[in-house]
Symmetry: C2
Subunit: 222 residues, 2 copies
């Protein structure tokens, strides 16, 4: 009896764990949608709970607060973006290609673009729960993109008219700003094309091929 219970217990726990993970994932998807449409401040837990067909109390069983839920949404998206840009695996030009690829991928996920566009603006206010997150995120991104341009400069391929750090600040600004115009009217702006155009204007012989080829290979291999 005791033995059987001991053997059953982990199995049941695993089943519960998997179910709980699926529920968490569904809540995160719904939260992304609500925060993207209404922003964090105006987006309500009630609306998120409704979309997954549970009560607000039920939702708070999985995430302790609205701000904890927001951070979980952002963390999950960051993991995803990290996979796409492959910032750890590649260097210099390849990293810049990764950013173009990310811009192109973002165009297939308008909800995610809306989320970052609205939240990064809201979170410039020091009282916002994601303020520190965005502060750290921009610092990290500036550092990483600067080091990419440093590698490009070391290869003698960065325009002498710009420093790696200024190029990084402009790149990040451009990506953020393009999102606003694209969200307002998607027929006006191709985010990836405009970013690639900027890279071509400051990086000697910039082209997109290599990362795309690598990604194609990866898709074939999978």
């Amino acid at each position: 009896m005791t033995k059987a219970t001991a053997a059953d217990q982990p199995r049941r726990r695993r089943g519960e764990y998997a179910k709980s993970e699926a529920t968490r994932a569904a809540i995160l998807d719904a939260a992304l949608g609500v925060f993207a449409e209404s922003g964090y401040r105006a987006g309500s837990l009630r609306e998120i709970a409704q979309r997954v067909g549970m009560s607000e109390a039920g939702l708070l069983h999985h995430f302790k607060s609205k701000s904890e839920l927001l951070m979980a949404v952002l963390d999950r998206r960051d993991e995803h973006a990290f996979e796409i840009t492959r910032f750890n695996e590649v260097d210099g030009i390849e990293r810049l290609r990764g950013l173009v690829h990310l811009a192109s991928y973002n165009a297939s996920e308008p909800g995610v673009v809306e989320l970052y566009c609205t939240l990064s603006a809201e979170a410039t206010s020091p009282a916002h729960p994601a303020h520190d997150y965005f502060l750290r995120r921009y610092e990290w991104t500036r550092r990483e993109v600067t080091s990419s341009f440093e590698a490009v400069a070391a290869d003698g391929r960065l325009s002498a008219a710009i420093t790696p750090r200024a190029a990084a600040i402009a790149t990040i600004s451009l990506m953020d700003g393009l999102q606003v115009q694209w969200l307002l009217d998607r027929s006006v702006v191709d985010m990836a094309e405009e970013l690639a155009r900027y890279f071509r204007s400051i990086v000697l012989g910039f082209d997109l091929e290599s990362l795309e080829a690598a990604l194609d290979e990866k898709v074939v291999a999978e």
Copy 2:
């Protein structure tokens, strides 16, 4: 008696009008502050009314609705920005200098930058009351900045690597995106400097002198 009343009436009306205008201006300032800090959706009429020391009903006597108030705030800021860039008076390079001047002026008005940053992001949603306003505003701005670059190109001073329209889209994106990084940490980014740097990278012999000299003269003359 009748004469005296007739003579008094307009004077009293003018006094009332001036008082009403001053109240409207105070409400618009308070609304700008609240919308900049909390966004339009989460910013409340009650908070705005409190800041000018009146009731919500009193405020609605001056502006019929929250969305009417928002549009009045935006219209007033646009008039102001228009004076600074002097888009009607000057052409080509001078207009680009006007944009750098606007970026520099914006840095002295963080509340206004916050307002546009938050509202333009919120308003990408078609249900937002300022959606059409921002759609038209970006169309207008793209058209005007494109025509500035066309004038620069006609003088043979635009880099062959970029079209006037692509340069306009990048310029507007850069200005918007720089605001986010600047609002998060003002020590990191000089918005006017980064914009001028971008213009120097695509416009042959771009410098800032002329408009500044003109503005200095204007200040001296006043």
